[in-house]
């Protein structure tokens, strides 16, 4: 058997090129799956690529790779992950353990006789009515509409659903970066310049892309939200 890493087209039935989306689209399965990438036949053929013999050197290269100690994972050090998001000019981290969902922004229905700064109203997230709080008001961050330069092409505001157990609360953010994993030794102290109400909730600072990101403390944040709703 040859160890050619690229199989010749004879070994693989390229149905997507003949009757699929790259061909004449006459495949009856297209009706159901719309695109070849959704089709189980396509997946089956893709899996066949892994049925090939090992390329030369493959086994030895991987053997050397896994024999080396993993320097990226020092033993015994805790790894934590946070959801990094932006409010105004401020980048903050929400512990991933209390992050439930990121949703598109949607209309917020204000509550009658409720003129609190912190509670914005009610939002509908997949049929569940959640209280939407204003994190800028809670943390005392100026939610000044930041004028962004040309460095960023597009930013999308998002709705973040947080909470523990069955209790969920939503808040709006100007942008969500995604999850970021960090190690315990990266944590730094919160500088004194952080506003007082924010300092009570920001537990640690972690470096991220040359910035210091304030990581919110899960327990204190949820307690603060609870107090603001009550």
């Amino acid at each position: 058997m040859s160890a050619d890493p690229h199989p010749t087209s004879g070994e693989i039935d390229e149905c997507w090129r003949e009757i699929g989306v790259s061909g004449d689209r006459s495949c009856p399965e297209l009706e159901e799956h719309l695109h070849c990438r959704n089709c189980p036949t396509h997946a089956q053929i893709a899996r066949k690529l892994l049925d090939r013999p090992l390329p030369p050197g493959y086994r030895d290269d991987w053997t050397l790779h896994f024999a080396k100690p993993d320097e990226k994972a020092p033993q015994g050090e805790e790894i934590d992950s946070v959801l990094i998001f932006r409010i105004g000019e401020e980048w903050l981290g929400l512990p991933a353990t209390i992050c439930r969902e990121i949703a598109e922004p949607r209309p917020i229905h204000s509550l009658p006789h409720r003129r609190s700064e912190a509670v914005r109203g009610i939002v509908n997230v997949r049929g569940e009515l959640l209280i939407c709080v204003s994190l800028p008001a809670l943390l005392g961050i100026g939610a000044a509409a930041a004028v962004r330069g040309a460095e960023r092409i597009a930013v999308f505001p998002r709705l973040v659903v947080t909470g523990e157990g069955a209790q969920h609360v939503a808040f709006e953010v100007d942008e969500v970066h995604g999850l970021h994993a960090y190690r315990a030794h990266e944590r730094g102290a919160v500088p004194a310049t952080v506003g007082r109400s924010a300092a009570s909730v920001v537990a640690t600072m972690i470096p991220w892309k040359g910035r210091a990101v304030g990581c919110l403390d899960a327990g204190r944040l949820l307690a603060l939200i609870d107090r603001s709703i009550a």
Partner: protein, 154 residues
């Protein structure tokens, strides 16, 4: 519950992913002369020696074929009270995971005389898949031979 699927011959089997430490590509193994049948050798995983059992050899009587889809599943294996060891399982077609409810698995109907590692079965559109119990994969005798040396070093 998430399961890692592999094949022995034509049949599909699953392992519970909670037991799986990592899935490695096919590595070169160091032969262990005189090792019991089914044990192909040992690999170095991050500097730690890990014995590798060829499931195809154990169950089908022929070694696993060297292909890209043949992989080594590193299983956390209870080697004694309160301690885990790593065990490598050389399996074919380890390319898929499936999400199944453990309650979907029912007794296969043939329990007597079956190898102790084979568990209940569940069906899907391609046929039956069988749950492999990681903790029952090795007989106590093989386990003693494999891990005795490590225990002696401690």
């Amino acid at each position: 519950m998430l399961f890692l699927m592999f094949q022995l011959g034509r049949d599909r089997y699953v392992l519970e992913t909670g037991q799986v430490e990592a899935v490695l590509p096919l590595l070169a193994t160091k032969q262990l002369p005189g090792a019991p049948r089914g044990v192909t050798g040992a690999i170095s995983y991050r500097g730690r020696p890990v014995p590798v059992v060829d499931l195809a050899l154990l169950a089908l009587g022929r070694p696993a074929e060297p292909r890209l889809s043949t992989r080594i599943i590193l299983l956390r294996y209870p080697s004694g009270p309160g301690q885990d060891d790593l065990l490598g399982l050389l399996v074919e077609q380890a390319v898929e995971t499936v999400e199944r409810d453990p309650a979907d698995f029912t007794a296969s109907g043939v329990e007597a005389g079956m190898p102790p590692y084979l568990g209940p079965v569940a069906s899907d559109e391609r046929g039956l898949i069988q749950w492999v119990r990681g903790e029952a994969l090795l007989t106590p005798e093989i386990r003693d031979i494999l891990f005795r040396q490590q225990a002696a070093e401690l």
